[in-house]
Amino acid sequence: MQTPLKFISTGNLRRLLEALGKDYQVYVPVKKGNQRFYKRYLEPCDDMAIAQVRPFEPLKAFFFSAREKVARGFEPEAPLRDNKPYCIVGVKACDLKGFKVQDYVFDDHDYQDPFYISKRKANLIISSDCSLALETCFCSALGLKPYPQADFDLNLSEVKKGFLVETGSHKGEGIIKENSSLFEEAEKELIAKRDENREQVAKEVEKNIKYNDIPDQKSFKDIIQKNYDSSIWKEEAKACVECGACNTVCPTCHCFLLYDQKDEDKMARLRIWDSCMIKDFARVAGGANPRHKLWMRLRNRFEKKFDFFPKVADIYACTGCGRCISACPAKIDIRRVLKALVANVK
């Protein structure tokens, strides 16, 4: 998009979000304690945290629901909910990469998933630069920057008294046109300030990577195949409690369980998020289980992200968001595992 950068003041951004509320369910990140969560934007709130860093919950939850009805009896129509589409504000670069994996699974594939696609197609993504990095952030090891470069409708970069606005799609361009009175031309000094901010956060991420000695994705080729029989898996799996938290918070994990239940007089088919760390994940009714040991399931999780997805979709299914590091009660640290895998290959 060649549209010039715009500026929107904090007050006008609120007006914009209110205006978008007519057509969209608008969600913004808010800060509670040390964590950030998405919250429905209904009126101006003090805890809004549009810039900062990725929220606790992954973006996928809006489009691939944790629990969703996917069939009702033999009715031919997909039971899609007729809600307003989502407008998610403050989406970070790591979660935009998560979209690439989810889109591959649910859309750019032999079969389309009507539930994901209907929500995804109608959505409006107003992303944002990170204005800080957490200790667990390592996105640049996965080839990302802590600011969105593509795959958004509009992107916000926090500057003094407002945000610089970059247009990333025709949809985003339309939003600016429809609300043109809320936007101003971006001053050159602000653009320079934005670039300075970006560099500052990128440096923080680089510092994390250096401190934790995290390998770059360029060294990930074949790390799974070459470490298939390594003791790393058994070592790392020792502390795992099979809670599945790593799967739940991961922006790229997409596995689900289908189950049927009686819904009044009809059958209802539901799907819920599933976890490949749980013992019966791949078990068949006859009893065979290709991954009956916990360490095999841990290896499988890494194989899926660092071997399967690069081979089938040319993408490492990790965004460096660090959510699994903070979610794991056993302190299994993906940075440490990657480091060990790469070191073992060298």
Binding site: V70, E77, L257, D260, R271, D274, A285
Partner: protein
């Protein structure tokens, strides 16, 4: 697929339940919308409100208004399937997967090796071969079961002995019940097959351990890895490569299989588990 919701089952009526062995039943169903499958593709059969499970139909693909699956009672869903009676309503989804590449098999010599419950998909395949009789250079069938009472479709399969387009031999691991045929594992009746192993096609379906030993034997005999077709029994759930349960290496059994050549999957671990 007759609708745009891949998770929605088509209504089907149970028209007959046939007890094959103490643990295996064949369910004959009439779908209310046409389900057209290629031999080797699978369907998801659901008992309303209970759940669904994957089965490869054992019936003739060219019959459009009736579909049969042969089901061993092993888990929650199959237990409910065994309780089904004529007139009950079930759900069907599919077909899924790639099926057997019959066009690749044409003008070739073909060996079909079945074990136990593996006879179910193979019966459908044999029907397809019989329909295309004359288009294959030779056709061999070698089948084995634990004991004579576990022999699926026994009368029907024994009647295939009369066919002059088929060379057939059967065996049981353990004799008895008036069994006059061979006793021993199915690998023991693969020795006397008159075919050009290097060019021939082998189709193997049965319990994982049986497929493993048959594959090793076939490779010893000189079959090429890319000519050995195996049925991978994995936890196929969504059927469309999204739920993640049935992944084998870079494939999903549900959309890329469940029939794979040994060459496709030999480098992946756990294929026999």
């Amino acid at each position: 697929m007759s609708n745009n919701n891949p998770y929605r089952p088509i209504e089907a009526e149970v028209i007959e339940v046939i007890t094959e062995t103490p643990t295996i039943k064949t369910i004959r169903m009439r779908p209310k919308e046409e389900i057209s499958f290629k031999t080797g593709q699978f369907i998801e059969l659901s008992v309303p409100g209970v759940g669904e499970a994957p089965f490869t139909p054992s019936s003739k693909p060219k019959v459009k208004d009736m579909i049969e699956v042969t089901v061993m009672r092993v888990g929650k869903v199959t237990e409910k399937i065994h309780e089904l009676k004529k007139g009950d309503i079930v759900g069907l989804r599919g077909p899924f997967g790639k099926g057997y590449p019959l066009d690749v098999f044409k003008d070739k010599e073909i060996l079909v090796v079945g074990g136990g419950c593996g006879f179910a998909p193979l019966r459908s395949l044999m029907y397809s071969f019989f329909d295309l009789s004359g288009q294959f250079r030779k056709l061999f069938f070698r089948g084995g079961c634990k004991n004579p009472s576990e022999f699926l479709y026994r009368k029907e399969i024994e009647s295939w002995q009369k066919r002059d387009d088929l060379n057939m031999a059967l065996t049981v691991d353990k004799g008895g019940e008036g069994w006059k045929g061979n006793v021993g594992l199915v690998t023991t009746i693969l020795g006397d097959i008159d075919m050009d192993y290097k060019e021939a096609i082998a189709v193997v379906c049965g319990p994982p351990i049986m497929m493993k030993f048959v594959t090793m034997k076939l490779l010893d005999m000189g079959f090429k890895e890319e000519n050995i077709y195996l049925s991978m029994e994995k936890n196929m759930s969504c059927g469309i490569g999204k739920c993640g349960h049935c992944r084998i290496g870079t494939y999903y059994a549900c959309k890329d299989g469940p029939v794979f050549t040994y060459a496709q999957i030999k480098s992946f671990q756990g294929i026999w588990d």
